[in-house]
Symmetry: C2
Subunit: 221 residues, 2 copies
C-alpha cells in the first residue's frame, strides 16, 4: 500500500516538479492548494490540471482571505506588479510578498496531514526565492520542520527538496522526470497567455534556456 503525502500545489513550475518527485518516490498523493485571494484564477486552473496529470488521490482547494491583511501586489489590485525584477541585487522584500505565506501554507498542510495520517509534506520553495522572501530560507524551513515534528502525536516531516537549488536545476530534474510543463502557470499577470515580461516569467524562461530546452507554455509574444 502506498504511503500518503501532502503536496502543496500552486500549479507553478516548482510545486509541479515537487509533485513529480513525490510521485517518483511512490507516494499516494494528496494535493493542497490555498486560494489566498490571488489576482487571477490561472494558478488554480493550473493546479487542477497538474493534480489530474499526476492522478492525485485527492486535491483540496482551501479559501483563505489573506488579502484582507493588505500589503502585497500578489493579492491586491492597488499595488502595481514590478516588471523585469532585477534578481539577486537586493535583500529587500519584493512587493509581491504575501505575509507569512509559507508559514500559513505549511500549517494548513500539517492539518491535512494529520487527518490523512500522513508523515510527509512536500513544498517546492527554492533558492531563487531565498533572495527576497524570508520564509523561503533554509533556517526558517528547518524551524518549521521542528514545529512539525512536535505538533501532533507522531512527527511530520517537511520535505523541501529544492531549498538549495536554482530554478534551472529544478527544471533539469523535471525534464528528467518527463514533466509536461505546458499545464503549469508562473506568470504574475492574469491574462490568457503568460506575459513573458514579469519577474516570474523571466526566471522561468531563463531556467528552460539554461537546460537548452523550450518552455512549452504559450506566451503573449
Amino acid at each position: 500500500m502506498k504511503k500518503p503525502a501532502v503536496i502543496l500545489l500552486s500549479g507553478g513550475l516548482d510545486s509541479t516538479t515537487c509533485a513529480a518527485i513525490a510521485d517518483d518516490a511512490g507516494y499516494e498523493m494528496h494535493g493542497l492548494t490555498i486560494n489566498y485571494g490571488q489576482r487571477h484564477n490561472y494558478e488554480l486552473k493550473a493546479a487542477r490540471a497538474v493534480a489530474k496529470q499526476f492522478k492525485f488521490k485527492s486535491h483540496a482547494i482551501i479559501e483563505l482571505d489573506l488579502a484582507s491583511f493588505g500589503g502585497s501586489s500578489l493579492v491586491s489590485d492597488k499595488v502595481e506588479i514590478p516588471k523585469n525584477r532585477n534578481l539577486n541585487t537586493s535583500n529587500n522584500i519584493p512587493s509581491t510578498y504575501v505575509p507569512a505565506r509559507n508559514t500559513v501554507f505549511l500549517s494548513i498542510a500539517l492539518a491535512k496531514a494529520e487527518t490523512l495520517n500522513a508523515f510527509d509534506i512536500y513544498i517546492g520553495v527554492n533558492a531563487i526565492d531565498y533572495s527576497g522572501y524570508p520564509d523561503c530560507r533554509p533556517e526558517f524551513l528547518s524551524n518549521m520542520n521542528s514545529a512539525a515534528q512536535t505538533c501532533h502525536t507522531y512527527p511530520i516531516n517537511v520535505e523541501a527538496p529544492f531549498v538549495d537549488l536554482t530554478k534551472g536545476e529544478i527544471v533539469k530534474i523535471g525534464l528528467t522526470l518527463g514533466i509536461d510543463y505546458s499545464k503549469t502557470w508562473t506568470c504574475y499577470e492574469g491574462k490568457e497567455r503568460a506575459c513573458g515580461q514579469c519577474g516570474s516569467c523571466n526566471e522561468r524562461l531563463e531556467a528552460f534556456a539554461l537546460n537548452n530546452s523550450i518552455d512549452p507554455l504559450l506566451y503573449k509574444n
Copy 2:
C-alpha cells in the same frame, strides 16, 4: 506611542485573560479570531464583546474552513461532544481536537503581525490542554517561536504566558486584573446558556471555585 501586538482571541477564558495581560503591559491591541467552522456562533459573539471591552485598535475575523478536513466534534455535527471529560487520566487526544489548530492560528497571527510591524503575538494556551492536545505542549510552542523568529525580516515573539499554568491560576490572574468574565464563552454546546456539563464548562466552574469566586456567566441550571 504604544507598540502593537496581535492577540489570538477565541472569546474564551484563556484568550480573554491573555488580552488583559497584554493590555496591562501597555500594548496597542489587535485581535485575531479564526472562524474555523465552529458549531455555533457564541464564541464569535464573545470574541467581539471582549475586543470591545478592551478597546482593541482592530479585530479581524478570518474564515478558514478546517471542517472540510473532518475529524473533530468541534467542527463537525457528525461526532458527539463528550460530556464530563475525565481530565488528566489519558494521553489520548480528545475528539474535540481540531487538526493542527494552534499551528494554523499562530501562522495567521504571524501574517497579521507582519502587516502591523508587530513584534509580539499573544496566545492563551495552557497546561490543562497539555494533557490531550499536542499543539499546546511547551516543546511545540518553543519550536513555533523559533519559526516565528525567522519567518520575517525581524524576529517575532510568540508569547504564551499560560503554558505552564492551570485554569485556576489563569482565572486568579484575571480576577486580579479585574476582568469581567460574564462576556466570555467556554461551553462546547451551542445553546443560549452554557450547559455546565461539558468538559470545558466543568474546567471553568472548577477554576472559579478554586479561587473562591462565582463565575458571572449564566448557566442552564
